[in-house]
Amino acid sequence: MIKNKTGKFISNVYLIAMLIFMYLPIIYMCVFSFNSSRSLTRWTGFSTQWYERLFSDYTIGEAVYYTVLVALLATIFSTIIGTITAIGLSKSRYVIREIITNINDLPMMNPDIVTAIGMMLLFASLGLEKGFMTMLIAHITFCTPYVILNVMPKLRGLDPNIAEAAMDLGATPFQALIQVIVPQIAPGIMSGALIAFTMSIDDFVISYFVTGNGVKNISILVYSMSKRLNPTINALSTIMVSIVTIVLVLINVVPVINAKMKNKKISEEGNY
């Protein structure tokens, strides 16, 4: 009994220590983004001046613009490419499917720096000018595996006769895909897209190596600013953390709400 209690106490302390360790720096940063002075260590009073500066600063505005634009485009393209690839794989022979899924897992486990340098060398050897396009291509490339990983399990659970049934009823293969297959794997596509979005938004290493011509995303900008102490970094980071948090909450909450709504609808219909 006593042993159990102390055990529980220790595990609670451990958990709290872990959370503090992980979140304290972030909370600290958020708090100091509202500091009224330039100091990063001494609290002098509340103000939103760093946020005002942030929004009036042209380079920061531009970085935010690139970050969001790249993230949106990369999400859209990687979701489409990833979904189509997953569907194709689910129809192909076992050996081919196994080989491709393993190849697909590789970039996710690779250190970012390896991918980054690989991409940089590839773009250089192709003679592509580094800038917005190279960054976008790189982001699409590293986001796609996450989409495939999320869509594959949904396809595995699909009734193989369903596409045939749709075509039997007069649907072209494309109509069958859009009206029958996609709605059923939509949850997988959704979570794949959200993960792709967060991966793109907070990427630093790969972006840093493949961009050029003054095109910077937020991470690169923060990195270049961190050499000169300036609380606008805190403000910017706070905003990024907020966005990522919101997206992550959505990833976890949306399926729950969906399931609830479905249940409610069914119980309402149960009336007759």
Binding site: D159, N161, I162, E164, A165, A166, M167, D168, L169, G170, A171, T172, P173, Q175, Q179, V180, P183, Q184, K262, K265, I266, E269, Y272
Partner: protein, 347 residues
């Protein structure tokens, strides 16, 4: 009647395994054709070739006189009720049934009207908004039937469509399907491994085994004149006895000569004799053509199934008369109850 579908020498191979071994079959307009055969004999495979979902290894399929092997499924005037329903789980009952009409961009009012009519036909009124995943197997099966029928195809393929229903509903749906087929006047190709279902519903029965057609004929043909041992065993119950055909109308089995109605065999040709259990009468020992002892009696509801041990082989008899185990009895039958089949070359 006009021939609508023609299978010409259809061969299908899966990974080197021959599943269909040269199927030749003609199906007429407005005909109710049943493919009957044991599990794994290639029934679904033949339907899938006609539906356009797989391609035959060899042979041709003609639809209305035109070779259709290269026509994609969505351009064929054929609809299918799949063996495992294949309903769209993200749609409710109404949208499932309306799918084909929506694809054809029919008017919304027309769609509503047709779907409502179909729901009534399959006895699912009021279920429009139900999620298909929340329905029983039998209800799902009826949605699948409605979803195919609503498109008014020229040919409807049904792959064991009543498999999940209980006996009562199954009988009702059999009558209902037959009525629909007569009313709408479309060709039904119906797959089942239930011989009773095949016998009650079909204009034409095609008995399949191991990818080969064993016999094509009407229900009475197949039941009364089975062409070989497989058909005789598969359709109904039967006693199959080795015999020798002396010449026309005279056959020998159980070391005795019997009069029969079959002819056209070689003299002294070895044959298989089929006698249906319900065609054998139990009589007094001295009146019997064959003598035996009652070995066992099983009550089957409408009749008793009695096994009679004779000098040669045991014979199965179906009768409503009571008997008792161990009793000496005589067995008797009429010449027309003896069906003679030549020994199959295929065996």
């Amino acid at each position: 009647m006009r021939e609508l579908i023609q299978f010409r020498n259809i061969v299908k191979e899966f990974d080197g395994q021959l599943v269909l071994k040269g199927i030749n079959l003609d199906i007429c307009e407005n005909e109710f054709v049943t493919l009957l055969g044991p599990s794994g004999c290639g029934k679904t495979t033949l339907l899938r070739i006609l539906g356009g979902f797989i391609e035959q290894t060899e042979g041709e399929v003609y639809f209305d006189g035109i070779e259709i092997s290269n026509v994609p499924p969505y351009k064929r005037e054929i609809n299918t009720v799949f063996q495992r329903y294949a309903l769209f789980p993200h749609m409710n009952v109404f949208d499932n049934i309306a799918f084909g009409l929506n694809i054809k961009k029919e008017n919304k009012d027309v769609i509503k009207q047709k779907v409502t009519k179909m729901l009534k036909l399959v006895g699912l009124e009021g279920y429009e908004n139900r999620a298909v995943t929340q329905m029983s197997g039998g209800q799902q099966q009826r949605v699948a039937i409605a979803r195919a029928l609503v498109n008014e195809p020229m040919v409807l393929l049904l792959d064991e469509p009543l498999g999940a229903l209980d006996l009562k509903l199954r009988k009702e749906m059999q009558v209902e399907l037959k009525k629909i087929q007569k009313e709408v006047g479309i060709t039904f190709i119906y797959v089942t491994h239930d011989q009773e279902e095949a016998l009650t519903m079909s204009d034409k029965i095609v008995v399949l085994n191991e990818g080969e057609i064993q016999q094509i004929g009407s229900a009475t043909d197949i039941y009364n004149e089975p062409e070989n041992e497989f058909v005789a065993k598969f359709i109904g119950e039967s006693n199959i006895i080795d015999g020798i055909m002396l010449d026309d109308y005279r056959v020998v089995f159980f070391d005795k000569e019997f009069e029969c109605v079959d002819y056209g065999f070689h003299d002294n040709e070895p044959v298989d004799i089929v006698i249906r259990p319900e065609d054998i009468d139990i009589v007094d020992v001295e009146k019997g053509m064959i003598k035996g002892t009652v070995k066992s009696i099983l009550f089957k509801g409408v009749h008793y199934e009695i096994m009679v041990e004779t000098e040669h082989e045991d014979l199965k008899v179906h009768t409503t008369d009571v008997s008792e185990v161990g009793k000496e009895v005589g067995l008797s039958f009429f010449p027309e109850d003896i069906h003679v089949m030549s020994k199959m070359a295929a065996y």
